[in-house]
Symmetry: C2
């Protein structure tokens, strides 16, 4: 069986990606990051998702993304409500986050001798995040080939982003067909102390509309 | 004044790079990593070097590179003596290390609004490390452009590797001409508890020969 590293945030998208990787016959090694995110209950969700779908191992990597700030997800910048901002790159963008996550995934893959890395980037919903675009993923894969043993052995890492062109509703339909239990996933940027979703942020808005459009009951627990 | 992020390990090469960046008129923001390296006294050296040459700020980022092993620098694999191994990629190679360091540097640069990143890679001495080669650096710069706000604003990060084609002796001559105090730098992969260099590993060997060739007195403190 081929091995794959799967970046697993605990959100709806990455849970779906893990199910896709399993359905494609990979032995999956999940990797999650504790980067000082506001929504730390993501990590509890990641553990539940890894256990529910089944992985060979699950690495939790603690990193220091908040040491220099720059994002509403790691700083004291308020998380805006959905549609309340129209900048090209939203304030919830964490500088170079996916680049850092992918670099760690490549390190892990190199040690495992895995050649596939799965990531739940999605350019339909999040076109404002440069590190979710296919041209970035392609350029990163090139750097990964040239910066690792792959360069000397003439093969390359495949960075699989199976959600790249799907809408949130399509992602939910895909995951549902693969048996993903979305009740254990977490998407909200601004949950309360009990992990209940705010229902107001961009991420909640996309998720809620996704379930509605997909015609799948929304299992998310929202704050009253 | 333009800002630059400078990757600073505390070794001879990165100290020289910091001096080069200063001499080119950059305001320098140093970044060092605590990645569970055997030679942790590198970090003490990095602090001394930053203070000696002068930086605007110095971020120490703690990361978890040893969570999955794979290198003599982070594992219990013995550090080999110089010239005792002839593999293409040495056992002291840390998987994807420079990729991870550069990804963090891009994140820091993005927050600082710096467009230049300095790194002390050097392909003459370390041709066995794929992540020190110019083709990797170029591919990474491309990924950094496409994965950050730079993509929408049509500029790019310049990853400056001023030591790329210099021999160790040339690096030492360059740094000496810029006033670098090499007595506070640390290169050994396998120092003793007092931080004294082993004099036997590949890194010690290159350093010692470099001083000899450069005709500069070697200030390194070796174990008896």
């Amino acid at each position: 069986m081929k091995k794959a590293v799967v970046l697993l945030s605990g959100g709806l998208d990455s849970a779906t990606v893990l199910a896709v990787a399993k359905s494609r016959g990979f032995q999956c090694y999940a990797m999650s990051f504790d980067y000082g995110q506001r929504h730390e209950c993501e990590l509890a969700a990641a553990k539940k998702v890894a256990a529910s779908i089944g992985v060979e191992d699950h690495k939790l990597v603690k990193i220091d993304l908040c040491a220099w700030g720059g994002s509403a997800l790691t700083d004291n910048i308020p998380v805006p409500d959905a549609h309340s901002y129209q900048e090209k790159v939203p304030v919830t963008y964490v500088p170079a986050r996916n680049m850092i996550f992918l670099a760690f995934a490549v390190a892990y893959a190199e040690v495992l001798e895995a050649r596939d890395i799965f990531i739940g980037v999605n350019s339909v919903d999040y076109s404002g995040y440069p590190d979710c675009r296919p041209e970035f993923i392609k350029a990163f894969a090139r750097a990964a080939k040239l910066g690792t043993k792959a360069a000397d052995e003439d093969w390359e890492y495949t960075i699989q982003s199976p959600l790249q062109n799907l809408s949130k509703a399509e992602i939910i339909k895909l995951g549902t067909s693969l048996g993903v239990d979305y009740s254990i996933t977490h998407s909200c940027y601004n949950p309360d102390a009990n992990g209940l979703a705010c229902g107001k942020c961009d991420s909640c808005d996309l998720r809620r509309n996704g379930f509605k459009e997909a015609g799948v009951p929304d299992p998310t627990r929202y704050q009253k």
